[in-house]
């Protein structure tokens, strides 16, 4: 079992939680400014209801947190497959770290400047890393 490849996975989990804190830390002051608060929120209100109510830039943190709950789930699954099949070293390990590094840059970009063409490029680069890892995972398990 290749435990080294678990480190990038652990880092991405922690990073996701940092985005959660960043989201909360900007959202609550923005809610207070727009006259909303949790105690008086209408029952059933969700983060998505804040679109158009608080500044876009504040919601960008939330968009990124949501984004981190999507494709990275495939990353975790792939990392576990590679770790269990003793393939979590060499190229796969580098790709896993590259994926996490690019996702962190992607997060910072989406939460601040958020120019779409750059965000898209970062997302494509990260996806290519994951794609190669996934192909390797299929290779080691199926053949």
């Amino acid at each position: 079992m290749d435990i080294a490849i678990l480190a990038p996975a652990a880092v991405l989990v922690l990073w996701s939680l940092i985005m959660l804190l960043w989201m909360a830390g900007t959202r609550f002051p923005a809610m207070a400014k727009s006259g909303g608060d949790l105690a008086n929120a209408k029952p059933g209100g969700r983060g998505i209801d804040l679109e158009g109510v608080i500044p876009d830039k504040v919601n960008w943190k939330s968009h990124n947190y949501t984004h981190l709950m999507e494709q990275p789930t495939l990353f975790y699954a792939t990392v576990v497959i590679l770790a269990l099949t003793n393939a979590g070293h060499g190229l796969n390990l580098y790709l896993a770290w590259a994926y996490v590094a690019i996702r962190i840059v992607h997060s910072i970009w989406q939460a601040t400047v958020n120019l779409v063409k750059v965000r898209f490029l970062l997302f494509v680069l990260a996806t290519i890393c994951l794609l190669i890892m996934a192909i390797n995972a299929v290779w080691v398990t199926l053949f």
Partner: protein
């Protein structure tokens, strides 16, 4: 390789709970859709989110919670697997994992019934602290 790690139990319980909410969503949503005279036989391209406009909020709250269970808990599953593979799947980590699952069940019950945002947020914040603690323990273990 681990022999039936005890940490697998809270993971499986949360997965089963998620599917229970899925069931709860359907048994309330399908009758509500019939009542709203939605022509599902000829529906093309609709999404669950579109029903926010058409069905009573309490019905959609089940769907909101089901979606919510597919966001942050994905970090929980990833971090549990990391802890198991790193041999840190006992003691405090196991206790925290069970607390997380307990809080998520409570969070679901709040969101699908009264859905008071302040209570829901408080339980979510507490459950997030559990994941943060697990993620830090995992990072310590794998580095």
């Amino acid at each position: 390789m681990m022999e039936n790690s005890a940490l697998l139990q809270p993971m499986v319980v949360l997965i089963l709970w998620t599917m229970l909410i899925w069931l709860w969503m359907y048994v309330t949503r399908i009758p509500a859709m019939n009542k709203a005279k939605i022509d599902t036989a000829n529906l093309v391209g609709g999404k669950g989110g579109d029903l926010d406009e058409l069905l009573p909020p309490e019905v959609q709250w089940k769907a909101h919670n089901y979606n919510h269970l597919l966001t942050e808990p994905t970090l929980f599953y990833a971090i549990c697997v990391v802890l198991i593979l790193a041999g840190q799947d006992f003691g405090l980590n196991l206790t925290i994992a069970w607390i997380y699952v307990g809080l998520r069940v409570l969070h679901s019950l709040i969101q699908v019934t009264s859905n008071r945002v302040l209570y829901r947020f408080s339980v979510f914040a507490l459950s997030s602290l559990c994941i943060i603690a697990l993620a830090i323990h995992a990072a310590i273990a794998v580095f």
